[in-house]
């Protein structure tokens, strides 16, 4: 996956900034939209080099569709995680069985790895401790499988099928 052209990266950065501006002001007054566009152009010119590597390639329909499908999936995993935490905290015996396990991932892209680490942190009973290459060290509150393969099967696999399409 090579880098996209500078123009495409620049346009993508400006678009993102402009959408955030529209959300923050939440008004379509032409004066505000115009000043937002100007600031998006300036800030985009200063920051597009660190912001994105792929430019407009991020907006391909397949990626956007998978991303939209990922949102409810992720929110549901998050709600499950919180009910799980509530159960462990409120249960009088405090049923925890913690440990640090290792997982492997098939993702190679840095942004994809960040998204996977964030997803792991917010889902049932796991929190990312460190990432080294393609090895994830994860603190698991209820260790069910100590081996690398078993833990990957339970922790990283469910997200990878979405994140592979979105970020690779």
């Amino acid at each position: 996956m090579g880098e996209a052209s500078r123009i495409s990266r620049y346009i993508y950065t400006v678009l993102t900034l402009f959408v955030i501006w529209l959300f923050l002001t939440s008004s379509f007054d032409p004066q505000e939209v115009a000043i937002g566009a100007i600031f998006a152009l300036i800030v985009g010119a200063l920051t597009y080099e660190v912001f994105t590597e792929r430019g407009l390639g991020n907006l391909s329909p397949k990626r956007v569709l998978y991303f939209i499908a990922y949102i409810p999936y992720f929110l549901w995993a998050m709600i499950k995680a919180n009910l799980d935490v509530a159960y462990r905290v409120l249960h009088p015996k405090r049923p925890i069985n913690p440990g640090i396990v290792e997982c492997k991932t098939v993702l190679t892209n840095n942004v994809g790895k960040l998204a996977l680490a964030n997803s792991i942190t917010l889902t049932p009973g796991t929190i990312t401790l460190d990432v080294k290459g393609n090895r994830y060290f994860i603190h698991w509150i209820d260790v069910k499988d100590e081996s690398v393969e078993g833990a990957s099967e339970k922790i990283t696999k469910p997200f990878e099928k979405f994140l592979k399409v979105i970020f690779e």
Binding site: G99, I100, T121, L122, L129, D130
Partner: protein, 137 residues
């Protein structure tokens, strides 16, 4: 009372419940790592519930739709930054030597660090040997 304010109030209530669970978890959990688990997860979903709930509540109560996009932006920023800060904190805790709870089952990270140290040690020895060899020549 409109439906929008009812939904908003329920969301804020759920968020507040998860805040309480998160605070209780800080007291009940035995070590830093398990406390981080409850604190990050429940506080994140609790904040989402309260923030978006306030946005929806405003539709029914104030009659203004301009709260929703702002609360959405705040919620997304929270959702993106909270796990990263949790990760930074827990990694810093491990690096500064905070021990795991005695009931913990495995510590794969320590094993990995040890094997890494062994590799580094061998590399260091090799480099020293090479340098000495060069001096001898």
């Amino acid at each position: 009372m409109s439906i929008a304010s009812l939904i908003g109030q329920v969301l804020v209530l759920i968020g507040a419940f998860f805040y309480v669970v998160s605070a209780l978890g800080l007291i009940r959990m035995p070590d830093v790592y398990n406390r981080m688990q409850t604190a990050t997860k429940s506080a994140t979903l609790g904040s989402l519930g309260v923030i978006i709930g306030a946005g929806i509540w405003a539709i029914g109560e104030v009659g203004s739709y301009s709260w929703i996009p702002k609360t959405l932006v705040i919620a997304i920023f929270l959702l993106l930054t909270n796990p990263i800060s949790a990760h930074a904190l827990i990694r810093a805790a491990y690096r500064s030597g905070v021990p795991l709870w005695e009931g913990s089952v495995v510590d794969k990270y320590k094993e990995a660090e040890k094997s890494l140290e062994r590799v580094e040690g061998i590399k260091g020895n090799l480099e020293e040997a090479l340098e000495e060899g060069e001096k001898d020549e």
